[in-house]
């Protein structure tokens, strides 16, 4: 499978995603500079990585969304291609309108880096199909603005259509206010668009793909994508 990992000025998890996909999952990966108007031929999946695109100045992801490559990403998504936005990537996708809602400052107003637990809420998306519903994953977060919000109607749609894929939870899977690291609405950690091919999540799966990095739960997300792509043929 072929992955395109985008690099914006200020991206800093692009190489981590590249490493996980290339050296751990042994896939074809291109780093794609944001000025490119087109994605490399044969791109199956676009990764919008974490970092501080354009310094996160003005608002996280606000300026990156105007990069030339984003038009190509939109087209790719429109064709049903897979797109995963991680952390700053999630912010860029909401700013671009590819995903609903917005990400506000963490409730604590502090940047927070730690491992959290995620309950898989919908195991039928291309990003979670190798998990059982209710499975708990341990994945780190590292962000200052991951406090997901949207209006009541959007929330209802998200819930009704199973677009909430991951929720912050306790180690045993209980979704509690204590398990919510940033104040996100309904403990939301990751959502998909209505078509199900675009995922945004605040936690960093690429950081937990190797045992020595403290866990491999992140692989499940990438492997689900590979599985979905294979199934699609």
């Amino acid at each position: 499978m072929r992955f395109s990992v985008l690099t914006f000025p200020g991206s800093n998890c692009d190489h981590d995603c590249w490493h996980a996909l290339k050296n751990v999952l042994r896939q074809k990966v291109d780093l794609v500079w944001h000025k490119e108007a087109r994605l490399p031929q044969g791109t199956d999946c676009v990764v919008v990585p974490g970092g501080f695109s354009y310094g996160d100045y003005l608002r996280c992801g606000a300026i990156a969304r105007f990069s030339p490559v984003m038009a190509a990403v939109r087209a790719h998504a429109g064709r049903g291609g897979l797109v995963i936005g991680i952390c700053n990537g999630f912010q860029i996708l909401t700013e671009s309108g590819l995903l609903p809602g917005a990400l506000l400052r963490n409730r604590s107003l502090k940047f927070l880096c730690e491992t959290v637990h995620l309950r898989v809420e919908n195991a039928s998306t291309p990003f979670s199909r190798l998990a059982r519903g209710g499975r708990v994953l341990a994945v780190p977060i590292a962000h200052g603005e991951g406090n997901y919000t949207c209006d009541a109607e959007t929330l209802r749609h998200l819930e009704d259509r199973g677009q909430v894929v991951f929720r912050y939870c306790e180690e045993d899977g209980a979704v509690t206010p204590r398990a919510n690291p940033n104040g996100s609405l309904e403990n939301i950690a990751g959502i998909v668009n209505q078509a199900g091919n675009v995922l945004g999540m605040m936690p960093h799966p690429e950081r937990v793909c190797e045992t020595e990095m403290g866990g491999t739960d992140g692989r499940l997300i990438f492997e689900s994508m590979l599985d979905a792509l294979t199934a699609k043929g």
Partner: protein, 86 residues
Amino acid sequence: MILAKIHVTLKKSVLDPQGVAISEALHSMGYPHVESARLGKYLELRLDDRGRSKNELQAQVKDMCERLLANTVIEHYEFELQAIPS
């Protein structure tokens, strides 16, 4: 030269974690009568208006707000233009 003064504020329905923190800090500093605080952004753009009408600039600043300066999912904006010596 035109100065555009732009205010971007969170919509009423959106919780403002920074505003909450500010009002709590003010309470603990001895200002119990602060009922609430909201934090927004204030932008000043200097625009070269040579060859451009006021209406045109007005429309452009609105576009800039809609496209970049405010995230209309959660934010509200307001602006005024003011002529300044260049």
